[in-house]
């Protein structure tokens, strides 16, 4: 079976999520990658280490014009005869995967968490109901598009190398114009973070966030918060996780002074490991936690930071 994987490089590099997607493709069949941008040929060929046999790169398109990217991916699928297209379920993937599916008359699996089961048709397990359940979705069309969530399957290094070819196609006009970009500064953006330290109203005020940031720094984690904290302006809105904020699935989520309301859990309960710190032993969050500390965040967070620093120093 022929598979096309679409991934995006940033600052000349590919993320772990990109390696996961290429590995995922390689488990299904012979994998070609389609990408764009200015990553070096060495970096592009490096995708072979995760199972790509060929990497097609377009140097003219920008990442904003989902109509053009859709045409690019569709043209690459036609050129390689791919029946299955794999993408990452991130902001860009969410914008273009449904378009590509509609253009290819293909069923779309949104939020895949496992490899396809082909014992009876083509069935893929996905997240539904904000991570509160899974659905096994069968694709009825001959072609299919799969959007893979990050951290679902680990990347597998194969030691291979891929050939690199420039790929051009008729992409139509660019219709979206970027007028201004504002950078949030350094740090891993929340949706891609593997380690997240989060705090809620239990922290009492924005002036107390130093202990949260210290722990995040010790771990190399990204900070997040509950919704009320963003609503009252203690923290920026891009940190708000939950049903109406960012949904995350990091390896580790540490929550201090957050009660664990169902709408908060909806955005974080796909985290691999959850640590909850709360003064109230009855806080609902403990039911969703792997590890709990019943205690005052003002006491526990600095101690945890110290223990992490000690652990890191001993490594």
């Amino acid at each position: 079976m022929s598979v096309l994987v679409f991934v995006e490089s940033k600052d000349g590099k590919f993320s772990k999520a990109a390696f996961e997607a290429v590995s995922y493709g390689n488990k299904i069949g012979t994998t070609t990658v389609i990408t764009f941008g200015d990553a070096s040929d060495d970096v592009l060929a490096g995708l072979g280490n995760y199972g790509a046999s060929k990497v097609l790169v377009n140097k003219s398109v920008d990442g904003k014009n989902e109509q053009q990217l859709t045409r690019l991916i569709h043209a690459a699928a036609e050129a390689t005869g791919a029946e299955t297209v794999v993408m990452i379920q991130d902001q860009l993937g969410k914008a273009i995967a449904p378009r590509v599916a509609a253009r290819m008359n293909a069923g779309h699996i949104s939020g895949a968490v496992a490899l396809p089961d082909t014992s009876n048709g083509f069935v893929v397990k996905t997240y539904v109901y904000s991570g509160k359940a899974f659905a096994n979705v069968k694709v009825n069309t001959p072609k299919r598009v799969i959007s893979l969530v990050s951290n679902a399957l680990a990347p597998v290094a194969t030691g291979g190398s891929a050939s690199v070819e420039v790929f051009n196609a008729d992409l139509g006009d660019a219709k979206i114009k970027v007028k201004e970009m504002k950078s949030q500064g350094a740090g891993v953006p929340l949706p891609e973070a593997e380690l997240v330290v989060s705090a809620g109203r239990g922290l009492k005020g924005p002036e107390n966030w130093g202990i949260v940031e210290d722990l995040a720094k010790a771990l190399g984690a990204t900070t997040a918060c509950s919704r009320p904290v963003a609503d009252i302006g203690w923290r920026p809105h891009h940190e708000h996780v939950g049903q109406t904020g960012v949904a995350i699935r990091p390896n580790l989520y540490i929550a201090a002074g957050i009660s664990g309301a169902i709408q908060h859990l909806a955005g974080v309960n796909s985290s691999k490991t959850i640590v909850v710190i709360n003064t109230d032993s009855e806080a609902p969050f403990f039911k969703a936690a792997n590890y709990g500390v019943v205690g005052d965040a003002f006491d526990v967070l600095p101690r945890l930071t110290e223990a992490i620093n000690k652990f890191k120093a001993a490594q």
Partner: protein, 246 residues
């Protein structure tokens, strides 16, 4: 300005998620349906604000059965001028997108607004599919939108920051938090909604591209392990050795 807002229903955010019929159907027992929050709070309200400022009309469209009419009336009570219901159960995103695109294709809407995603299926699929079928630009996850003449200026967060983009009408937009403030319908709105036009349109024939064969609940979390504030080294060791999280 002529705006179309896609309205879907979703189980209330506190609903218990369970399945029946050998895990093949969502258990609707005791479930309260609401208008999908992104569709109502952000897409619909922003559409109303734009029309209040610039003139025009807001039509809502829903692919669903008669059981969806209470949620459609709620959208009318908030202020939409009229509503369309495509008469078919919404079983597959491609099916839904085809129905909406088929209805919208020759009506001259300036913007087709959707929510960011439905909170039950979280597919974020329908919006992009409508755009592709109609060959229109699609701006996802918009947090602010202004329209002047036929140019829209849109702000949104992107990984690592935010951006301001420009796009000409017509286009498809999915609305995220920030676009508008929730509006609570008043008594007059609720009364008026009863007599506003709700047109039922038959569905066009489209094969479902996907089918849900079964549902599963996540495996029960293992019991929470507790540590005291004095046992932070032990917690860190557990995170390293047992959870392999650090």
């Amino acid at each position: 300005m002529k705006l179309l807002v896609c309205i879907s229903k979703a189980p209330d955010t506190t609903s218990k998620i369970a399945f029946t019929d050998g895990n093949t159907k969502f258990d609707e027992n005791g479930v309260q349906y609401i208008v999908n929050p992104y569709d109502e709070w952000y897409a619909l309200v922003r559409a109303l604000e734009l029309v209040e400022a610039n003139g025009g009309s807001v039509t809502t469209i829903t692919v669903g059965t008669a059981a969806d009419e209470p949620t459609i009336r709620k959208a009318l009570a908030i202020g939409a001028n009229d509503a369309v219901r495509i008469d078919a159960p919404a079983t597959d995103p491609y099916f839904v997108a085809k129905q909406i695109a088929e209805y919208a294709k020759d009506k001259g809407f300036d913007v087709i607004l959707t929510g960011k995603e439905t909170i039950d299926f979280n597919g974020a699929q329908v919006s992009g599919m409508i755009a592709e079928i109609l060959d229109l630009p699609f701006v996802s996850l918009a947090q602010k939108m202004e329209v002047a003449g036929n140019t829209a200026t849109i702000e949104r967060d992107v990984p690592g920051g935010s951006e301001i983009i420009e796009v000409a009408t017509p286009f498809v937009l999915s609305a995220a938090k920030g676009m508008a403030e929730q509006r609570i319908p008043n008594m007059r709105g609720i009364m008026a909604a009863r007599t506003k036009p709700l047109t039922v349109v038959p569905a066009v024939s489209v094969e479902n591209a996907t089918t849900v064969v079964s549902y599963e609940l996540p495996p029960a979390k293992s019991e929470c392990k507790y540590f005291t504030a004095d046992q932070m080294d032990e917690l860190v060791a557990a995170l390293h050795n047992e959870a392999k999280a650090i």
